[in-house]
Symmetry: C2
Subunit: 805 residues, 2 copies
Amino acid sequence: MTNAIYTFGEGRAEGSAAMKDLLGGKGAGLAEMCRLGLPVPPGFTVTTEVCNFFHQHKKFPDVFEKQLRTGLSHIETILGLTFGDAAKPLLVSVRSGARASMPGMMDTILNLGLNEETVKGLADRSKNKPFAQESFERLKKMFGDVVGKPLPHDPMEQLLEAIQAVFNSWDSPRAIEYRRIHHIPADWGTACNIQAMVFGNMGEDSATGVAFTRDPSTGEKFFFGEYLINAQGEDVVAGIRTPESLDQMRQTLPQCYQKLTDIYKKLEKHYRDMQDIEFTVQKGKLWMLQTRRGQRTAHAAVKIAVDMVAEGLITKEEALLRVEPAQIDQLLHPMISPRIKRKVLAKGLPASPGAAVGRVVFTAEEAVKWSEKKEAVILVRTETAAEDIHGMHVAQGILTAHGGQTSHAAVVARGMGKVCVAGCGQLDVDEEKKQFRVGKTIVKEGDWITLDGTWGDVMVGKLETIASKLSKEFHTFMGWADGHRKLKIRTNADTAADCRRALEYGAEGVGLCRTEHMFFEEGRIEVMQEMIAADSKEARKNALAKLKPMQKKDFLEIFRVMQGLPVTIRLLDPPLHEFAPHVEALRETNPMLGHRGCRLGITYPEIYEMQVEAIMEAACELAREKISVMPEIEIPLVGLAGEIRLLRELCKTVCERVMQSTGQKIEYKIGSMIEVPRAAFRADAIAPYADFFSFGTNDLTQTTLGISRDDGFKFLSEYEQKGLVHSDPFQTIDFEGVGELMKVCVKKARQIKPDMEIGICGEHGGDPASIEFCDEIGLDYVSCSPFRVPIARLASARARLKNVK
Amino acid sequence: MTNAIYTFGEGRAEGSAAMKDLLGGKGAGLAEMCRLGLPVPPGFTVTTEVCNFFHQHKKFPDVFEKQLRTGLSHIETILGLTFGDAAKPLLVSVRSGARASMPGMMDTILNLGLNEETVKGLADRSKNKPFAQESFERLKKMFGDVVGKPLPHDPMEQLLEAIQAVFNSWDSPRAIEYRRIHHIPADWGTACNIQAMVFGNMGEDSATGVAFTRDPSTGEKFFFGEYLINAQGEDVVAGIRTPESLDQMRQTLPQCYQKLTDIYKKLEKHYRDMQDIEFTVQKGKLWMLQTRRGQRTAHAAVKIAVDMVAEGLITKEEALLRVEPAQIDQLLHPMISPRIKRKVLAKGLPASPGAAVGRVVFTAEEAVKWSEKKEAVILVRTETAAEDIHGMHVAQGILTAHGGQTSHAAVVARGMGKVCVAGCGQLDVDEEKKQFRVGKTIVKEGDWITLDGTWGDVMVGKLETIASKLSKEFHTFMGWADGHRKLKIRTNADTAADCRRALEYGAEGVGLCRTEHMFFEEGRIEVMQEMIAADSKEARKNALAKLKPMQKKDFLEIFRVMQGLPVTIRLLDPPLHEFAPHVEALRETNPMLGHRGCRLGITYPEIYEMQVEAIMEAACELAREKISVMPEIEIPLVGLAGEIRLLRELCKTVCERVMQSTGQKIEYKIGSMIEVPRAAFRADAIAPYADFFSFGTNDLTQTTLGISRDDGFKFLSEYEQKGLVHSDPFQTIDFEGVGELMKVCVKKARQIKPDMEIGICGEHGGDPASIEFCDEIGLDYVSCSPFRVPIARLASARARLKNVK
C-alpha cells in the first residue's frame, strides 16, 4: 500500500465520490464536496486498506505514521494552525466511515489536540474560556468512553489511539450484529476521517444541523431538516436535545440558510439522488461535514424515483434500481382502519410510517425472547442506541421518549422499514419496573399497544388495521417494473379472497393452490377424518364423495376469480396425521420424510381421483358459461419417474372422463413439484411425464441441507453468527447448494423439453435475492404470497436490468 | 418374429444351451441334452417372444398355429404317433420354463391329447386300462385346476388352452411376488415346452426321479437324489409321497442307474457345473426331462467351486463368479452350540443347513404380521406351496411335515438361505387350532422352537447358538477373492469384541466406530444426561470430564485390537433427545433433520473436544507401548464447507495439544461423512478441509429421496410391487439417484485431491450389488458389519472381475 491517506480541503481533494470502497462513504463525500468547491473543513481520510491491515497485523503499516504527519501538515498549512502548538493549536475530529452507512455503530472523537497547554491557546484565540474548557472536558470524556483509558498529554498519541479505537470499533459486537443483519462483509473494513474541528457551540451565531434534500418520509420535494443553535453535531444525532425545524433557521441565520439552500440543490443535482447532509455554522460561517445518499421510507423512495424521472434527473431504469424491492413491503403494511375512533394516549414524532400492533417490552433482550415465542412486540425505550439493534430488528415497532426525526431510533427504524414514533415526551419510561406512564395511565410489559408511525400516535390496545392505499406514483413505478421484467409473477393462494388481493397487486396466475387447507375448515375436517379412519376402500370412497362437492365449490370460486389465468393446484400433500392427530398409528418419526405427497396418491389413488374430478368438474362447469379456465394439476413430492408416470396416467384418465361426460374441452396441464434432490437431479427422467415443473424450495432446502425448518432454528442463528451461512437458507435460496441443484434441474429438464414451463412456489419466490437468481437461471415464473407480489414484480425487473448487464 | 418354436429330439435340436433367454432354462437344457445325444422325449419349445407377444396383444401371433402344427408333426414323425388319433394317440406335456428358475411358480399340464376316444387307444397300446384311465383323470383334474374350465374334447383346443394357461401363469400373483423377491424383470416372459409324454407310472419297472450331480447341501462329490417307483414327476416335487434315495435305485433298476450315472457325469463335465436333473423311467427305459444348474447351499457352493478348480474343470476366476456373495451369509449364520445337550422333539430331513430360533406361526400371513413386529418366526406347514413364498421370506426357518429334500419347501429355503427341516412325519399340524402335536407335546402359535437344518432336528424352546466354523475350502476360496479385489474391506464396529470378530472375518480396518453407542451403557447414560441437562458451559464440562475416561478406555481397547490398521471414529451424531427421551425441550419434529451431527459439535464444541482428547490420549498412550495406531476422526452430517473448516480446526488444535503434552507423534486424519445431498454436490468446497470422505448412504438415501427409513415401510413395499423401485433403496443403493450423486461427489472431490481416500459405511457397504457399484465408481473401501465382511470380500472381487470386463 503506497497511499495510506487521501487529503481534501480548499476546493481540492485527492479522493472522489467514486472511491467509496477505499475512503468509505463519509470520506468519499467530503472529497467530492471539496471538488465541487463547497466549504469543507480541511482534512484527510485513512483508507479501509489500513483498517484491514490493522486487523490482520495488529499494528499500522510502516508508511503510516509518516503519511499521517503529511496529512496533518496539509491541514496546518491551510489553516495556519499547528497540531499540539500551545499558541495556535489545531484541533481535529476522528470519525469512522465505512463503505455502507452504519449509523451510530462506530466511534467518533472530537476536539483531539487539546491538553492542559493547548487549551489555553484555544481559550485565548476564541476569547472564550468556558468554551475552551468545555471542549477539553468533552474530549476527555469521549476519549475515555471510546478508547477506555485516560487522555494522554501528547496530541499525536491522542490521535493514534483514536484512530486505533475507530478501527477496533469495526469489530465491536454491535457492529458485527449490524453487519449480520444487513449482510455487510467483515472484510470491507472502515475508513477513518481526520478533519479540522469546526464548532457549532461558539454562541448564538453558531449551530449544527442535519438535513435531507427531500422529505425522507413522504418523498415530497422540499428541504427538510433540523438544527440546534449553539450545539455540536453529536447532540442532534444522540437525540438529547430536541432540535428545531430548518424553517426556523431561515429566520435566525438567513444568510447561512440561503447558502445551505444553494448547496443542497447543487448536491442533489450532482449526485442525482436525495442527499442526507450534515453542517455546522461557526460564528456565522457555514461548513459542510457530510453528504451521503439519504435513507428514506419506501413511500418516499418510490415518489422520489418517479419525481426524478419527471424532472429529467434519472432514467426509468435508474429509478427501478433506486428502490429496494424489500422496501415495497412497507407500502403494503397495514394502516389503522380510518373507521376506528382513536383514543390517542400520547403523541410523538412520526418517525417511520405504518401501523404496528404488539405487546410492550422494554429491552432488546426481552424483544428477542418474546418474538422467539412468536409474540408481536413493540420496543419502548427512553432513547435507543446501537446495542438495541437486535431488539429493533425483531419488533413490530419502536417507541422512544427522547430524540428527533434524525435520532438513532428514527434513522434505524426507517432503514429497517419498522414503524417508529420517536421523541414522545409525555412518556415516563421505567425500565426497572418494566412499565411506562403517561399521566395516570400505566402500561406494563406484555400489554398491547398500537403505534401509528405516519402520525406519531400511541394508543393502548390492539387497533384494527387495514392494508394501506397505494399511491399514484406507486402504480406508475410498478408499471415501469412490469415493462422490464421477464419473469411472470404468480401467487400462492388457497382461497378466492387471496386470489382477489393478489390480482389487485398484479399477480398473473396462481402458482400454488394448496388443497389441504380446504379440509381444515369446520364441517370438513370431520369428513376428512372419516375418510382417514375408513377401513375399506368402499368406506373411504364414501367419505371422499362427501368431500368432493366442498372442494369443487372452492375451485369454482377460485377459477372464476382467476379467469383467463393459469391456476396451479397441488393435490393433497401433508401426511394424514395432520388431519387426525389423535390417531396414533399415523404418527411418524420424521413426518417431513414420511407418507405424504404423491406417496398418498399412489397408496390411496381414490383421494387424488376425487380431487382431480372436483377440479375438472368445476372447470367444465365454468367452460359452459364461457369462462376460460386454465387448470394446472400439480403432483407433490415426486422423486421417481415412476411416481409421476403412474399419477399422470391416473389424472389424465379422470380428466378425459369428466370432459367426455360434460362435453366440454379444457386445456389442462399435469406437472410435478420439484422438492427432493433426486427429482432435481433426475429431471431428465421425470420431464417426459410432466408439462411443467415447480420448485418447492422449502422442502428442497430441507432435504438438500438435511435441515428441518421446524428444528433448524436451534442452530441456524448460531450458524449465521459464526458466518457458516450468509443468510437463513429458508429465506434466501442457498445458491451454492440448493441453487446449483436447481440449475442442474432446469438444464436437464430443458434438454428433454426445451420450452418446459418451470417456476418456483416456495417462500423464496417472494425474496428479492432469490428472485434475481430465478431470473438468472431462466425460470418462467415466481409465485409468492399476495402481499409479496409487488416486491416480486420489482425484484424481477431489477433482476433483468442486472442480469442483462 | 419368424421362429415361434424350436424343435428337439432324436439327437438333434434347433436350440441350444446358449439360447436360454429365448427358450427358457428348461427349453435350452432339453435342446442341449438332445445335441449331446442323451435320451430326451421329442418336443419343441414355444419362445419367450411368443409369451411377451401374447401378453401385449392378448392373442398368439399369426404364424403361431401353423408352427405349432409343424412342431407336433416333428414329434409325431419321430414317435409314429398322431396327436388326437384314436388308435395311436400322441400325448404331450405342456410346461413353463423361464430364463431363471422359478420352482413351482408356474403351471404344468400332463397327458394332453387324451379324450373319451384317444383314452381307448392309449389303453389298447399300453395294455393297461387303469393306467390309461388314471392318466385321463389326471389330465382332467390338472386341466381343470390350471385352465379353470372343463377339458375340451378337441386335443388341439386342449393344447392351445394349456399354452395360454402357462403364459397367463407368468402373471399370477405368486409369480409376480416371486419375481419381486428375486428381482426378475416382468418382460423376460416364460417359454413353454411341449414334449411327448413318458410315464413313470406304468408299473414297477417305471419310476421318476430328481437328482443332483453333487450333494446340494454339503457339496460333497457324490450323486445325490431321490426317486419314486411307479409315479409321475409331479409326485416327487409336490412332496406328497416321500421318495427314496438313489442308492435304492442302484438295486431296483441297475441298468437305468448305470445309464443315469454316465449321463450325469457327462452333463456336469459339459456344463462345468453341478446340475439338477429330472428323469423318468418308462418300462425300463430312461428318459431325461430336465437339466439345469443345481441350486445349492453356500457351503456346497464354496466346496463345489473349490473342488472344480482342483479338478481342472473351471478357473479360479470362474469359481469366484460361481458363488453369490449373499450366500456367504449362510456360512456365518449361527449353529446350535455343541455344548448344549439337545432334547430333540422330532426329526425331519436336513433340507437347508444352519440353526434357526423363532416363534411358531402356521400361515404365511401370520409370519409376515409377526415379523413386522420384529418377532423372529418359524413357519410350520404341513407342506409349503408357491403361495407361502412371502411367509418363508420373512421367517428364520421353515418346518414341514411332508415332502423330501427336493420338495418345494426345501428348494425354496435353500435358495433363500433359510434354515429348513422338511418331511418331519411325526408332526401333526393343525392350522385351524394354530398348533402342532408331536406325541403328547403340543406346540402353539407364539411358542419358541429351534430348528437345526444341518441335522434335521426340531427342539422346543430357544437354544443357544454360536457362529458356525468356517471350512478349509472357505478360506481357500476367500483367499482367491482377496487376490482379485481392489476395494479394501473395513468394518462397522463399536466395541473391541466386534473388532475381533471382524478381524477373524478378514476386515482391514474400522470404517465406522460410532461413539454414541458407548454412552448408552449403564453408568454412562446417567453422566450423559447430566451433561445434557447442564445449564452452563462449566457444568457441561464437568460432566464431560467424567465421560472422557470411559471413552478413552473404549478407544484403548479398540486401538489395541486394530493395531496397524486404520480406525475411523465418528464423533457424536444423534440428537441429544435420544439420550434423554424425558426432556421435552429436546423433542424435535423431524429429528433426522434436526440438531445432530456436526451441528452439535458447532453449538457444543466442548463435546467434540472431549471426544478428540479421548481419542488422541488413547492413541498416544499406545504409541508409548510401540503399538501403531491410525485414528481417522470423522465429522458427521457435514453440509457446508464452513462446518468442516471450523471443526477441523477444533480437532487439529486438540490433537496437537495432546501430542505436545504427551510427547508422542500420531499420524491422524480428519475427514467428513457425506450424508446430505449438499455435501455430495459441493464436494469440491468441502474437500480442502477433509483428509477423507465416507459415504453415509443410510442418511444420504433418506435425504436424497426424502424418505425416512423409519416411516418409509408404509409405502415402499407397495412401491416395489408397483415396480416404482427395483429394490428397497435402503438395502441396495438407488443407483440412478443416490448413486449418481455419489459419482458427482467422487469426481468433484478428486478434482481437488486426486488421491483422496473415499469409502462407504452405510448398510449398503455390505450389499453385493452396492459393492459392485462402489468398485465401479472408484471408492477405496467399503465398511460393513463384521458378519458381512466375507460377503464384501467376495462381492468386491466379483465386482473387479465384472468391471474389468
